[in-house]
């Protein structure tokens, strides 16, 4: 058995395609997540404009006899969207730093990514609070329920991504992310890109298309 025992070390990393298991798994997971968000977006679109009362996303609506402005704050969310898009760029730079063994670039760009993500979630918290004070609770009407559910699930995904990236950052700060382990960042980054791409669909569907 001595000679076979020797061969086992390489088999530990053997894959039939040459692609790491975890990388294949995260792509597969993303495919599954697409169906999850497709169902939520579908529900939003089916119910669009079918509310029995206000608030309305893009038009004026009546509350206690007074006309109210449209509820969505497009400039604020556009700014948040752009930060989320930048964060996707930053995480690529961080990955490139990790692969080249450039610790400074890795940590710097990873911090920038996380900062943008935190700002996006903060913007969403502000937006939700603001809507609540304008009279839009979770159960107020169909728009409120579908909006909060769709964007809330996306926000939860962003938050989970932030926890994941922060974990990778802590590992990197402790010097345990050498280039040969950069895949640990790459799979987190793939998830992060996915969360961004979903927002690129949600943003026009909810905020831009009337």
């Amino acid at each position: 058995m001595a000679d076979t025992a020797h061969a086992q070390v390489d088999e530990h990393h053997y894959t039939a395609t040459g692609i790491d298991h975890r990388k294949l798994a995260i792509w597969t997971f993303i495919a599954s997540e697409c169906m999850f968000f497709a169902s939520l977006i579908g529900t939003y679109l089916v119910y669009k404009g079918r509310d029995v009362s206000g608030p309305r996303p893009h038009t004026e609506w009546l509350l206690n006899g007074r006309m109210q402005e449209q509820i969505l704050e497009i400039p604020l969310v556009t700014f948040g969207t752009s930060l989320l898009l930048f964060s996707s760029f930053f995480v690529v730079l961080a990955l490139s730093g990790a692969q080249r063994g450039n610790r400074k670039a890795l940590i710097g760009w990873l911090c920038a990514t996380i900062f943008c993500g935190i700002f996006f979630v903060g913007m969403q918290v502000f937006e939700f609070t603001h809507f609540y004070h304008r009279g839009m609770g979770y159960t107020t009407n169909l728009f409120a329920s579908t909006f909060y559910t769709l964007t809330g699930f996306h926000g939860t995904h962003v938050t989970l991504g932030l926890i994941w990236l922060t974990t990778v950052l802590v590992v990197a700060l402790r010097g345990k992310l050498p280039p040969e382990k950069s895949l640990n960042l790459e799979i987190a980054a793939l998830y992060w890109h996915f969360v961004d791409v979903v927002w690129i669909v949600i943003f026009p569907v909810v905020y831009l298309i009337r």
Partner: protein, 608 residues
């Protein structure tokens, strides 16, 4: 985020016995046995529920159970058989057989595999704990809104259902991810995709369906749960919501689910038929592509479950035609199975009998299925016993016959002893006769107008004779499984000589290693050059291979056992369990804490 530390644990750290060794196991074979044992118990429970239903329907105007209990019985019977019976019984074979047929030492993510099992068990137990509260789910396995909204189902019954199914969905998704990656990445060197054993192919397609269909029911269940818990109006018409959206989301999942239930059985009989006909599978490529085509079109037929909602002529025509088209690849499969047996040297061993029974019963179920793909016919048949007859012919006559055949076929590989042939044949004939006595008359009472899901019927309806026949048939079916249990117990206790590695002259790699396999499966990873790898090896050698010896596996790298998947699964159960009877914030938070601890300690645990 798994670490890739290369620490070679000496093999004696892998405790071989005791409860702890089962809780911490990451061995795909042990997890397979766990799946099989739990699923078989749930299956028997679902069977007992069915027998109570049959007892109640034996004569008109009976009140053995009242309408409330009857609703719980048929809901739990359906939910149990689908999610806790057929799916995990298939998962038993995915776990035990996919790595062996691929020539691999384990699945791609052994700890995720353990996690899937524990989450599945948690979901199954949670669903059934509802009986203790006298609040078993009672809205049907399809849970149509707005029957299931808080207004019409104020109790905890539906909470158990929404939460239980979400937990089971997490288990299915984690397992599907794992097996998808395993099939692509852990094929033995030289095994191309078009060399895969047909069971692996059909299982692979099943994983794709699981990955794409389960997120949809997750969303539907989440929306229903939010409606019930927080008072939103997703499915409540008074707030603008549309109950028909529930049906669309549910059946968009529900129809692929049908193929999730049957494709593994297609795979199993495609393994059994060639081995007992001494011929390679007829039309291998056609089998693969027809399976893939069934799965693909299976996503475009969901609304044939909804003809009665009145979708209009265009939608009716589309879904009707799409449904009829599925009959074509299914027909291709049936002709290929017949072509496999045709001209072969057929050995009528028990697994073969079940495989042949599968073909016959599945054809009947398929034919009645084509009948209600036509909307005018369906409008007559929907919600009658005709439908009940149809789906039992495909799910019992199909899936269960296939899975039972697989159990007889692979039993010696899993447990090292051959099940008794005489008792096996008795089991088969009792099951075949009992099955047809139970379900064939349902076609007739259904067409005569007997509605489903109603707890009794009147004496004037003339349904009594056939219903009595069905009940006697169901007792025979129950008896068949008593014989099976007896066979299992007798075989396990017997002192018969251990089964040889290859009792059936098998074609695939699982038969090249001792029965039961050693922990590392293959002392040396096999090289594969084509289909039916083991037959090929035998042909090259010009006869049977020498009996493989058990070897000392020292130095073979295996993953360490871990209790973290169990902890993480507990976290999932507590977090979602907090939604039973309203939302309990502290339960959610406690569950999340356990889940986070489980995941983080898992991520930073040395994999060994």
């Amino acid at each position: 985020m798994a670490t890739t530390a290369l620490e070679h644990a000496p093999p004696d750290t892998h405790a071989a016995t005791g409860l702890w060794s089962w809780i911490t196991t990451v061995d795909h074979k042990r997890i397979g046995i766990l799946y099989g044992a739990s699923a078989f118990l749930f299956f028997l429970l679902g069977g007992i529920e069915a027998l109570v239903i049959r007892w109640q329907l034996m004569a008109p105007n009976q009140t053995i159970v009242g309408p409330e209990t009857y609703n719980q019985l048929f809901t739990m019977h359906g939910t149990t058989m689908i999610f806790l019976g057929v799916m995990p019984l298939s998962a038993m074979f995915f776990n035990f057989m996919i790595p062996l047929q691929l020539g691999a030492r384990d699945v791609a993510f052994p700890r995720l595999n353990a996690f899937s099992y524990w989450v599945f068990l948690a979901g199954g137990l949670l669903l059934n704990v509802s009986w203790l509260f006298r609040a078993a789910p009672d809205g049907g396995w399809f849970g149509y809104a707005n029957l299931t909204t808080r207004q019409f189902s104020p109790g905890m019954n539906i909470d158990f259902w929404t939460v239980g199914l979400q937990i089971l969905g997490i288990a299915s998704l984690a397992a599907a991810l794992n097996f998808f990656v395993t099939v692509i990445n852990l094929r033995a060197p030289g095994m191309k995709m078009m060399h895969l054993p047909m069971f692996v192919w059909m299982s692979f397609i099943t994983q794709i369906l699981l990955l794409l269909a389960f997120p949809i029911i997750t969303v539907a269940l989440v929306l229903l749960m939010i409606d019930r818990t927080f008072g939103t109006h997703f499915f409540v018409p008074s707030g603008g919501g549309d109950p028909v959206l529930w049906q669309h989301l549910f059946w968009f999942f529900g129809h692929p689910e049908v193929y999730i239930l049957i494709l593994p059985a297609f795979g199993i009989v495609s393994e059994i038929l060639p081995v007992f006909s001494r011929k390679p599978l007829f039309g291998y490529a056609a089998m693969v592509f027809s399976g893939a085509f069934i799965a693909f079109v299976g996503f475009g037929v969901w609304a044939h479950h909804m003809f009665a909602t009145g979708m209009g002529p265009f939608a009716d025509a589309f879904f009707s035609l799409a449904t009829m088209i599925i009959a074509i690849p299914t027909g291709v499969k049936i002709f290929n199975w017949i072509g496999t047996v045709w001209g072969g040297r057929v050995e009528y061993k028990t697994p073969m009998l079940f495989a042949l029974g599968f073909i016959a019963m599945f054809i009947m179920g398929g034919l009645s299925g084509v009948m209600h793909s036509s909307p005018p016919a369906d409008l007559q048949q929907t919600d009658t016993y005709f439908i009940v007859a149809h789906f039992h012919y495909v799910l019992f006559g199909g899936s269960i016959f296939g899975i039972t055949g697989g159990a007889y076929y692979w039993w010696p590989k899993m447990f090292g002893k051959l099940l008794d042939e005489g008792l096996g044949k008795l089991h088969f004939w009792l099951m075949l006769i009992g099955f047809n006595l139970t379900f064939f008359p349902m076609h007739i009472v259904g067409l005569n107008g007997m509605p489903r899901r109603v707890y009794t019927y009147s004496a004037e309806s003339n349904f009594e004779l056939l219903n009595r026949l069905e009940t006697w048939g169901s007792l025979l079916l129950g008896l068949a499984f008593v014989v099976f249990l007896w066979n299992i117990i007798r075989t396990t206790r017997s002192s018969q000589a251990p089964a040889p590695a290859d009792p059936w002259n098998g074609a695939t790699l699982e038969w090249s290693i001792p029965s039961p396999p050693q922990e590392f499966n293959f002392p040396k990873v096999p090289q594969v050059h084509g289909r039916d790898a083991l037959w090929e090896m035998k042909r090259e050698r010009g006869g049977s291979l020498p009996e493989p010896q058990r070897v000392d596996g020292r130095g073979i790298h295996l993953p360490n056992p871990s209790f973290r998947p169990f902890i993480a699964a507990t976290g999932v159960l507590i977090t979602l369990g907090g939604f039973i009877g309203g939302s309990h914030l502290w339960v959610h938070l406690a569950g999340l804490a356990v889940l986070l601890y489980g995941i983080f300690s898992w991520a930073f645990e040395p994999t060994g």
